[in-house]
């Protein structure tokens, strides 16, 4: 209807313009030509009038028809609407995440490993977890782009805004050979199974141990990645990337690109209701003074206080005679750790400089007994990581020298803080794995179990391998909302268990990216 209307208007305008322009042109030519033109114009006028009449009658006929059609079935939305200004807005989504947690231990350090900022356990008690805002859209026929902002909220601190992803990807329209894709910027790069997924889609509230210690939950350095799905009957994909080398397991990119990756994947179906995928990955690069986020191995709560402690130490000791005793305790703890070799602290607290290579294999198997994963489904998944690291681990140690000076009202303790750096060249080869199973037994209910384990570097001289067991139960009202209860039993240090309870909701609003396998 609109089109008809417009063309009618257009015809009118065109006729009017012709009527003006043509005579103006005609005046400059001879008088015989002028009369010719006049007849021509007359003919044109007649023709347009006839066409207008025809169009008008067509229009009224259409009006009648369409009114009848509307009465029959149509809803108001079916009538043509002018396109609103926001039709080309990118898809926007936000992930809301809240938690209640309870831990039996204060400390969640993993002896023999550095842990970064991202992989710390969530603050105890009620807290807002990790929220996310994602914008994504096709840029044009050749590119697609996305931006994910992560909002890290630690109670009592201002929110941290982190750019989790800011990437562009090629679309097939660019004309790369079929199956090939380039991605550049910052993204959750291809490594293992979990790395490329957003944590809110995970089956458990926290990432398994190997992800926490080797990747600080996820590797999302700045870089570029290439991948190609090969034209085979089985799914097979290969690819690799170059990265800045700033994100854990690397750091302090002196020379960029300071890291690279390579991966290969295979996958297929078994029968019509189950599917599998296996992958192998390599991630290599150099680290220059990689620290687990300023000694984060000590756990979040302690770290916050760390800097302050150093600054106020003198004052405290000045007033507190017990400072002596306190200091001795600290010292003894360190000794205890180093029964065999005093190297564990180098791995957990040291700044690492050297080559780091991470090798990973992963598999995933899904089985939906009826073919409908929404009804019932079993998912088995496991990954194994081996990290080869060789280089120096440097520890900055604060030495306190205190002297006790007698005073009128008792004793006065004066302490001075010196910073020494100790460095050792060590073999940091370590490994870790996890295995998990998740079973959806009713359309909205799932249970899952996961066991993860690490083998700490031999040079650390620890005889306890950190391990963790997680059990979860979740309820998803729709694919946009999920409430999860999880119990963790972590045995990270010697003989001590940390029992953790986590109750979490994860809800997403707005556009929802389609799920990967």
């Amino acid at each position: 209807m609109r089109i008809i209307n417009q063309s009618a208007t257009f015809t009118l305008v065109a006729a009017a313009l012709l009527a003006i322009v043509i005579p103006a042109h005609g005046q400059s030519t001879g008088s015989s030509a002028a009369s010719d033109l006049a007849t021509e114009i007359e003919a044109l006028r007649n023709e347009y009038e006839a066409r207008l009449k025809a169009l008008e009658s067509q229009l009224s006929a259409l009006k009648v028809e369409s009114r009848a059609a509307e009465e029959q079935a149509a809803t108001p939305a079916q009538r043509a609407k002018p396109a609103p200004d926001n039709v080309f807005n990118p898809a926007i989504s936000a992930v809301l995440n809240g938690m209640f947690t309870n831990y039996s231990r204060e400390d969640s350090a993993i002896p023999g490993f550095q842990t970064g900022h991202e992989s710390e356990r969530a603050a105890e008690g009620l807290s807002l977890g990790h929220s996310e805002i994602t914008l994504s859209s096709n840029i044009d026929d050749k590119f697609q782009g996305g931006l994910t902002l992560g909002l890290g909220v630690h109670p009592g601190e201002p929110a941290e805004l982190e750019i989790e992803e800011a990437y562009i990807r090629t679309l097939p329209g660019l004309g790369l050979p079929d199956g090939m894709r380039l991605q550049a910027g910052r993204a959750l790069w291809t490594f293992g199974y979990l790395n490329e997924l957003h944590a809110h889609g995970d089956d458990f509230s926290d990432r398994p141990l190997p992800y926490r210690v080797f990747l600080d939950n996820a590797f999302n350095d700045d870089g570029i990645e290439f991948s190609a799905v090969l034209p085979s009957e089985l799914y097979s994909e290969i690819g690799g990337g170059l990265f800045r080398g700033d994100d854990i397991p690397f750091g302090g990119s002196e020379r960029s690109p300071g890291a690279w990756s390579a991966f290969a994947r295979l996958g297929g179906d078994i029968g019509s209701n189950s599917a599998w995928r296996v992958g192998g990955d390599l991630l290599g690069g150099r680290a220059h003074g990689r620290g687990g986020g300023d000694g984060h191995a000590h756990g979040h709560e302690e770290d916050e206080a760390h800097d302050d402690d150093a600054a106020h130490e003198e004052d405290e000791h000045h007033e507190d005679d017990e400072a002596f005793a306190h200091m001795d305790d600290d010292h003894e703890e360190h000794e205890e750790h180093g029964h065999h070799d005093d190297h564990a602290e180098f791995f957990s607290d040291g700044m690492f400089s050297g080559d780091s290579r991470l090798f990973g294999v992963d598999f995933r198997y899904t089985l939906a007994p009826t073919g409908n994963a929404r009804e019932r489904e079993l998912i088995l998944q496991g990954e194994y990581f081996l990290r080869k690291e060789r280089g120096t681990y440097a520890i900055e140690e604060e030495h306190q020298e205190c002297t006790t000076v007698p005073e009128d009202d008792g004793f006065h303790t004066e302490c001075e803080v010196h910073t020494d750096e100790r460095a050792e060249t060590l073999d940091g080869t370590s490994s870790g794995w996890y295995l998990q199973g998740v079973y959806k037994f009713a359309p909205r209910l799932r249970v899952g179990a996961r066991y993860s384990r690490l083998a700490s570097p031999r040079d650390a001289g620890l005889d306890h391998d950190p391990s963790a067991l997680a059990l979860m139960f979740d309820w998803s009202n729709s694919e946009f909302s999920r409430v999860r209860l999880q119990y963790n039993r972590e045995s990270l240090g010697d003989g001590e268990h940390d029992d953790q309870i986590m109750l979490q909701y994860i809800m997403s609003l707005g556009a929802h990216a389609a799920h990967t396998f």
């Binding site: 085979s232 994909e237 599917a275 073919g371």
Partner: protein
């Protein structure tokens, strides 16, 4: 380690080499999202195409995992034949992106979305997530109107001719033969539908809109008040009330739909639950498009003839 990376890449390449089938003649590879379109592609392309269906007859096409095998299928497809109208929105975009096959991208001859070629019913006035899994552009379950199948058969033949012009004559001949048989069948079904006119039914999901309109049935209620969200007890009671007031002959359910809600209503009302095949392969007897409608009409007649 770099050597290892190379070795891994080579190994993957090698495996791929093994996996590559020995394709002789350049057959057109059709990837159908649903079995009904796979069946139609077999009808029109038989002999010149290899057809693979992403889903089987007892699967809910709304919710499919973007399995690795499907990425591999898209990667090699010459023609992608789906329902469209967002039916596959939960999984197809990932496949298209990862498979990155130019020939089947939107706008190409190899991208055929059924919903783009027929008139859609049930376009929602309001689009909001609280309304469940709604399809903003309209109801995508278009294949249950046999006229739509005929329209799509012609469109499919046109696409195949463009993709594989060497065999254009074969496609045209097969289309003509199919339409002959289909029009005859439609005449028979129309007659059978005239005896079903006004038959009252309760459906599970709004997947039956096209069949209901074509056969002139009357939908009294849908068990799913909100599309895609399992009905609550309150919803069911509401349906029970409406069903009790009417003379409902059947509670219609697709093979992939959960049985609890329809059984609940059947127990309380005595109305029989009729599981219709919904698509080709939904029931063993519904082995092709003709049989799909034959079986559907037979089951509806059986329910309607009950006192």
């Amino acid at each position: 380690m770099k050597r290892l990376a190379l070795a891994a890449a080579l190994a993957a390449g090698g495996l791929t080499g093994i996996a590559l089938p020995a394709t002789g003649a350049a057959e057109v590879r059709v990837l159908a999202c649903e079995p009904e379109w796979a069946a139609l592609a077999e009808e029109i392309g038989a002999g010149n195409v290899t057809v693979h269906s992403a889903t089987h007859g007892r699967q809910d096409p709304h919710h499919i995992r973007a399995r690795p095998s499907l990425i591999a299928q898209v990667r090699r497809a010459d023609l992608l034949f789906c329902s469209g109208a967002d039916l596959e929105v939960g999984w197809l975009p990932v496949l298209m992106q990862r498979g990155a096959r130019m020939e089947v991208q939107p706008g190409q001859a190899g991208n055929l979305m059924a919903a783009d070629h027929v008139e859609l019913l049930g376009r929602p006035e309001v689009v909001d997530r609280s309304l469940g899994d709604i399809h903003p552009s309209g109801n995508p379950h278009v294949h249950l109107d046999p006229e739509n199948v005929a329209l799509l058969a012609s469109e499919l033949a046109r696409r195949l001719e463009r993709i594989d012009s060497a065999n254009a004559v074969a496609y045209r001949e097969r289309l003509a033969s199919f339409l002959d048989r289909w029009n005859d069948a439609m005449a028979r079904w129309r007659e059978r539908a005239s005896r079903l006119r006004g038959m009252q039914v309760v459906v599970h999901h709004k997947a039956w809109a096209y069949l209901i309109r074509w056969a002139g049935l009357e939908r009294v209620a849908a068990l799913e008040r909100i599309s895609g969200i399992p009905p609550t007890v309150a919803d069911l009671k509401n349906v029970l009330e409406r069903a009790s007031g009417a003379h409902v002959k059947a509670i219609i359910r697709a093979p992939h739909e959960p049985t609890d809600a329809s059984s609940w209503l059947a127990e309380r009302t005595g109305i029989p639950v009729v599981e219709l095949p919904y698509t080709v392969g939904g029931q063993r007897e519904a082995h092709d498009l003709f049989a799909l409608f034959e079986v559907t009409f037979a089951l509806l007649e059986e329910a309607n003839d009950r006192p």
